[in-house]
Amino acid sequence: MFFIKRILIIFFIFLVIIIGDLVTYDYVEKEDKIKEISSKMTSISPSFSFASKEYKKFVYDK
């Protein structure tokens, strides 16, 4: 039981960290930023390259 309690406490700490991070993240701001920029673009293509060939095709061909 002691062992299980110890694990639960560790997980609880993790959970607090994660929930804290989730709650404090400003989704609205990020969403606004993305929407702001995407409303200026016509055809959005993600601005990143991808390691696989298929992916590059997707970004730069379409």
């Binding site: 299980i4 991070d21 989730l22 993305i34 995407s38 673009m41 293509s45 990143f48 696989s52």
Partner: protein
């Protein structure tokens, strides 16, 4: 059936054999960590892209000539406007400027609010320009010579703005070498969603060279890229599946080998078959649950708090240091992962444990 003494005793036995379980524990944790990291990253990218798509018009029109993209003209706008059901057509200037010194492309996007001497850049571009000592302004090399723009503002890099430079429309045309009546894309506004497909067909009918993409097409493209079948995902999933099966084999053999005698001892002192199975169930549940949650938690911290240092490059390429992943936790997929890892893990232990438990143990314990 569940009693404290029994659970305690199971844990005691688990800790006794911790060396054997530790290997499984680490492998399991690593698999879950890897799989959920991939899941978090792809979900986060997908989420951002879909938000970006939200603001898009329903139909995007591009022109091609002999398989290459060519600009569209005012004439295209005029004729598409005549189609009934189309409410508005906007021509947009958008393209890529090659920055030869760093061998990379900048995405030039029009922002009408800017004047002719300033631009807005992303933080990623800011750090690239800073490498070449462009801290307050940047000189674009155009057909008519140098166009110098001041950096007015730096915006945060996100999935679509990472390589973006926002400039005035005239400047964009200058940088991209486009004439006044030329457009890179057309945005077609169709108020009635059910007419979108029909209207895009009509546009293609009008100009066979034109490539029409609807919002739904784009959406399904993104879905496809982040679908488990797509490229890198398949490889990663296969890797984790294979290592998972290795893990299972390891775990089963540990039950079959030395544990056979131990099980027989417990049977002789009065453990019923169900007790043996329950004992193994408790032990392996502890291992599996701990690994699963530890894997998921570590993946979250790795991806969203530390920004997925190595994995990020696989997904976003090497120039994505400024992109921050939006924390998106898809509980449904995590649950599916739970079902597909923890359940087979437990099953693969309990079946051999049961098999051994029902054997005649009088020979083993002599």
């Amino acid at each position: 059936m569940i009693n404290k003494n029994f659970v305690d005793f199971s844990i005691l036995l688990l800790l006794k054999d911790k060396k054997e379980y530790l290997f499984s524990f680490f492998i399991f944790t690593f698999i879950v960590f890897l799989a959920s990291s991939i899941l978090f990253i792809s979900d986060s990218i997908k989420h951002d892209l879909f938000i970006a798509l939200d603001k898009q018009h329903q139909i995007i029109v591009k022109n091609t000539k002999s398989g290459r993209y060519t600009p569209l003209s005012e004439e295209h706008i005029d004729s598409i406007l005549q189609i009934s059901g189309v409410d508005n057509v906007k021509g947009k200037v958008d393209g890529y400027y090659y920055f030869a010194q760093d061998r990379r492309y900048f995405h030039i996007v029009v922002d009408e609010s800017l004047d002719e001497h300033s631009m807005i850049i992303s933080s990623e571009i800011k750090s690239i320009l800073a490498k070449f000592k462009y801290t307050t302004q940047f000189n674009f090399l155009t057909q008519d010579g140098i166009t110098s723009l001041d950096i007015k503002k730096v915006i945060k890099s996100n999935i679509i703005s990472n390589d973006v430079i926002l400039v005035n429309e005239d400047i964009a045309r200058k940088i991209l070498n486009m004439d006044e009546d030329e457009y890179s894309y057309l945005d077609v506004l169709v108020p009635n969603n059910s007419e979108i497909d029909f209207i895009s067909l009509k546009i293609v009918d009008l100009y066979p060279d034109i490539k029409v993409k609807t919002k739904n097409d784009l959406k399904s493209d993104y879905e496809y890229v982040f679908y488990y079948k797509g490229g890198i995902f398949m490889i990663l999933y296969i890797v984790s599946m294979i290592s998972f099966f290795i893990l299972l084999k390891n775990q089963i053999s540990s039950v079959f080998g030395e544990k056979k005698r131990e099980i027989a001892i417990f049977r002789s002192i009065g453990f019923a078959i169900k007790d043996i199975i329950f004992l193994k169930f408790i032990q392996n549940s502890v291992v599996a649950l701990c690994s699963y949650f530890l894997g998921v938690f570590l993946a979250y911290i790795f991806v969203f708090i530390f920004g997925a240092p190595l994995l990020k490059n696989i997904f976003l390429g090497h120039d994505a240091s400024h992109i921050i992943f939006t924390p998106i936790v898809d509980v449904k997929t995590l649950f599916v992962m739970f079902i597909f890892t923890v359940i087979p893990f437990l099953a693969s232990i309990l079946l051999p444990a049961w098999k051994i438990a029902v054997e005649d143990m009088s020979e083993v314990i002599k």
